[in-house]
Symmetry: C2
Subunit: 398 residues, 2 copies
Amino acid sequence: MKKTRTWNQHVVKKENKALVLNTIRSRSPISRADIASMTGLNKGTVSSLVSELLGEQLIYESGPGESNGGRRPVMLLFNQHAGFSIGIDLGVNYLLGVLTDLEGNICHEKIVKFKDLSYEEIELKLFEMVDYLMKHTPESVYGIVGIGIGVPGTVSKSGEILLAPNLGWKNVDLKNVMEEKYKLPVIIENEANAGAYGEKQFGVGKDFNHIIYVSVGIGIGVGLILNGSLYKGHHGFSGELGHMTIETGGTKCRCGNEGCWELYASEQALVKNAEKSGITAIQNDEISLEWLISLAEDGDVEAINQFKQIGDYLGVGINNIINTFNPEQIIIGNRMAFAEEWLTEPLKNRMTKQTLWFQQQDLQINFSELSTHSSALGVAAFSVENFFLLDKEKSNVM
Amino acid sequence: MKKTRTWNQHVVKKENKALVLNTIRSRSPISRADIASMTGLNKGTVSSLVSELLGEQLIYESGPGESNGGRRPVMLLFNQHAGFSIGIDLGVNYLLGVLTDLEGNICHEKIVKFKDLSYEEIELKLFEMVDYLMKHTPESVYGIVGIGIGVPGTVSKSGEILLAPNLGWKNVDLKNVMEEKYKLPVIIENEANAGAYGEKQFGVGKDFNHIIYVSVGIGIGVGLILNGSLYKGHHGFSGELGHMTIETGGTKCRCGNEGCWELYASEQALVKNAEKSGITAIQNDEISLEWLISLAEDGDVEAINQFKQIGDYLGVGINNIINTFNPEQIIIGNRMAFAEEWLTEPLKNRMTKQTLWFQQQDLQINFSELSTHSSALGVAAFSVENFFLLDKEKSNVM
DNA sequence: AAACTTTGTTTATCCACTAGACAAACAAAA
DNA sequence: TTTTGTTTGTCTAGTGGATAAACAAAGTTT
């Protein structure tokens, strides 16, 4: 019957406790006094909330800090090893798994490559990956707080994978399978959304609140951080910008549409164009992004031109993004980010020529620093946030 | 020094009071008991908050309602005449002003048409409009709560009009001018943003939370309602989708870019295409939207084809919007909405052919019902919301 | 050594919400 | 008509969390 959330002192306490914890998380090491002045909470309130957090072992006291002209403060630190999180980036032909602490630091990491596997075979690889990471998890208070999986496809808000064309998957309920097997909270998220979140939490997006993360791999996916949090749309399918029309009546796309952005600016487009241009690979091998990068590094003009063209087309779509969202930052991530060197110039050219001056104000264009790890770190971070939320709910009942 | 908002019992009270007021606003007439069960608040809490609201004359008691098998409830009603709001839609060649009550009902309305006026002349027309509407405002407890103005251009978050190309304005601080003169809170907002808000509050968007409002007039502007509230981007310039590239290397646009959507799907495009196709107006007059509509109504095949083409191109951009936002509803508003009859079919054709099935789930495509009033109503509603926010702040100090 | 600062705890007080008692007003059944 | 039960809205006591202010401990400065 309760339709809306009511506000009472329990909620107040939970919010303030979360506020204190987050302050410690982001500004650690910090004293109680500093928390009070930063948050505006009363010293006494901070003291009592801190002592609860100490009891829950989510934070701990280190030795005394430097005096500011009076009694020396007791420094508080976030106990990043109170629990661990598993994040897996499920790519088209690889599986990247990371084990992180609650601060997003990678404790263990494993990559498995494969090709043309069936769903069942990939599921098995996933189990192996999780088992491996679990075996390498140190002892901790809360253990593994959750498993996150990033997939290159559309995921509904309930966690079902509706369509992952490059994997050939349709309506796969991986979330349930994993939750049944491991009895842990499992989060399935689109790879671009996960990447955006990863960059926001740990990467170049840390200090920004309006971020568009453009994941340029075999296709193009986009993750939206609006007002500091992930925007997923009505059902969770936002950010399918790879299928934005940039050429009406252009090349047919598998999606049914024509002139889609990813037909002109993705790794897929790069390789196709390179083939047409006459670039050849060694020993009848297929042309790959890595090969083209090595050519470009050796100064191969034709290869560099190929990258320049991709950069130009990236610029077209990014212009659209700027006009749509007026973002603070655009991050280009995933595999194509390795080609930053040759993409930057043509991309910025498009922008300065075609974007209105006020849209360019304080606009950052960055390439991912986490590179191929942003997705895995992102999904791991989802589980961590989820853990803290559940933790709050729990203390709600008590 | 206070960086974040802290939660204490004052906040709790303010939030709950707002919750009660909003419940009355949307579900009026309603009894105290019903409010309690709907919100989850305790009966006593509701009683005391209601008595405060009664004191502030924001609500009033009507007679007893129908019994539900016991004592008859006292019905509460929102006092929509506790104050009034002025909303003005400043178009390229017209000025539409409305006086609304706190519920958004239009009490008075006036439209002024003009052509090629300077900024100073338009300013004067604005003053006349406000003066006129003020004179026609009934006596009330709070009087006029604010003035809102919607403009066809880019407005910064501080309210400055940075660029209104169709008016020929640049860096105009209208907000300050109006506030100085009338000593009332003034809100300047982009016309599409205002329209989106208007539709969300009073129009076809009432029951939706992820709405993309596409204002198709001389140009194209877009207002974004995400998670139930207006998204403005980092500096307030979001929704400039009229300048989204849908044809790389296409026609040059005044904005510096090429192949912009509004070159293919706006009123401007319609008129240009019609001229090229050989359609003529009566007596050397210019071809207008109204004229083309009247032709289409008479069954003129050529005119209908012109609309169909616009509808088709609208579909291209709307496909991009769907892929970007996964919205719940798309509303097509402003002048072009009058041509709904001929636009719908080609638009929906594009969609069903080119949009993935899961993106079309529960997706509403609507034409504005408020038609040309959505902007004016939207800015008026901004002032109303602002009034309630300020009201809360005020009681914060006491 | 004295005076002042800073830190963190403790105490008393305040305030909003809740639970539950209560009275008034009404409907339905006996 | 009387009785019983329900609904509505008010009132009172009690709870829990925040705040302000006092205080002790541990520093620095003069």
